[in-house]
Amino acid sequence: MNLTLKIWRQKGANDKGKMVDYQISDVSPDMSFLEMLDVLNTQLIEKGDEPVAFDHDCREGICGSCSLYINGEAHGPDRLVTTCQLHMRKFKDGDTIYIEPWRAKAFPVIKDLIVDRSSFDRIQHAGGFISVNTSGNTQDANSIPIEKANADAAFDAATCIGCGACVASCKNSSAMLFVSAKVSQFALLPQGQVEATDRVMNMVNQMDAEGFGNCTNTGACEVECPKGISLENIARMNREYLKASFKG
């Protein structure tokens, strides 16, 4: 496959940045998208040019590092995959592919396609945990019976890998799908009840302080989420937040 790549190049956080065109040939349809970028970078290095900086780590859809906005969609045109799981067979010979970083005020660009997602870390620090002493006196997991439906829903919420595709896809750059998944995974379990009020208030307050937008329920986040996190989690977070607000 021969492709034209239009890639966002930005030398650093303070650089203005621009889209740059690259031609790449002999791309195998069996390559992953990141492997295709590896080939491009090899060519750039051989020519003495600066390689394209992009995030990646596990390359098996678990870590949430790869974060590319490809042809106008987070992680490209495929569904329920991260960019490392996207294969070049999803594209046609002669295609032009736009590759951009996540765009959000709360995700500033560090270099080229790499953005700073530490705002997600700060939201997690604000309440995405339970205060349980696990050093040597951990209870058996089955000692607290949990309804199957709740256990499943909590697990589904916990599959969020924090990649930020929800923010990137949302026209408002809202982080509500991410935050709601983190709130839900504890709200559905008895272990999460002790700190439930503080958790949702602190996490939502931190989300707002980071400069993410307001959710307007377009549902784009749910469609583009590589882990299929449901909008039901946002409704649950809204309920938890209102409950916590009335408790004061």
């Binding site: 042809n71 045109p77 909008l231 209102l242």
Partner: protein, 230 residues
Amino acid sequence: MSGILNSSIGRKFAMALSALFLMVFILQHFAINILSVFSPEAFNEASHFMGTFWAVQYLLQPVLILGVIFHFVMGFVLEIKNNNARKVSYAKNNGSANSTWMSRNMIWSGGFILVFIVIHMIDFWVHEMNVKYVAGDMTGLIDPTDPNSGFRYYEELVVKFEPIWRVALYCVGFVFLSLHLLHGFGSAFQSIGANNKYTKALKGVSKVYSIGIPAGFIFIALFHHFTGTH
């Protein structure tokens, strides 16, 4: 509860409550207007009641006006805030791949509805206020000095829908209302946290309401235009 309107979820909740209130109002408005098709007498009676009953005039009407203003102001405030959350736009963004046109363009459908409401208020509400509270005529009669002249409401409605330009304008307004409701109806329930086993059924109700009510209003406008005796 302090500062709930300063939070993203609090603003969503307030926006949804005002939307639900306005949807109930639209339903009530439609219920009275459709009477004009079947029974001018019933339409006149209902209009006179709504136009003169103290609780409607002095309690519900101000609440409605505040609700409309709040919904629009909050809508524009949220739009500005949301635009600020993304300083640099994508060179290529395929929004239609993951969301509906209606959901992405609520500010535009809402803006056109605002223009329509202003025209509608000038057409009907300003006239009503002039007759009742400036001229002081609370009789609702065609000729206030003649008790046998009958109520004026049906006559005024038919006259309003004589010009085709006004009918066309109202039809366009209702199309935008329909587009707005097609996303807004379900969105309001999601915002108040109601996403559960009833959501699928609610989507059906949403479609019936969002298409049926504006289509009904269009029917009323066309009916009076084509059957009006003036």
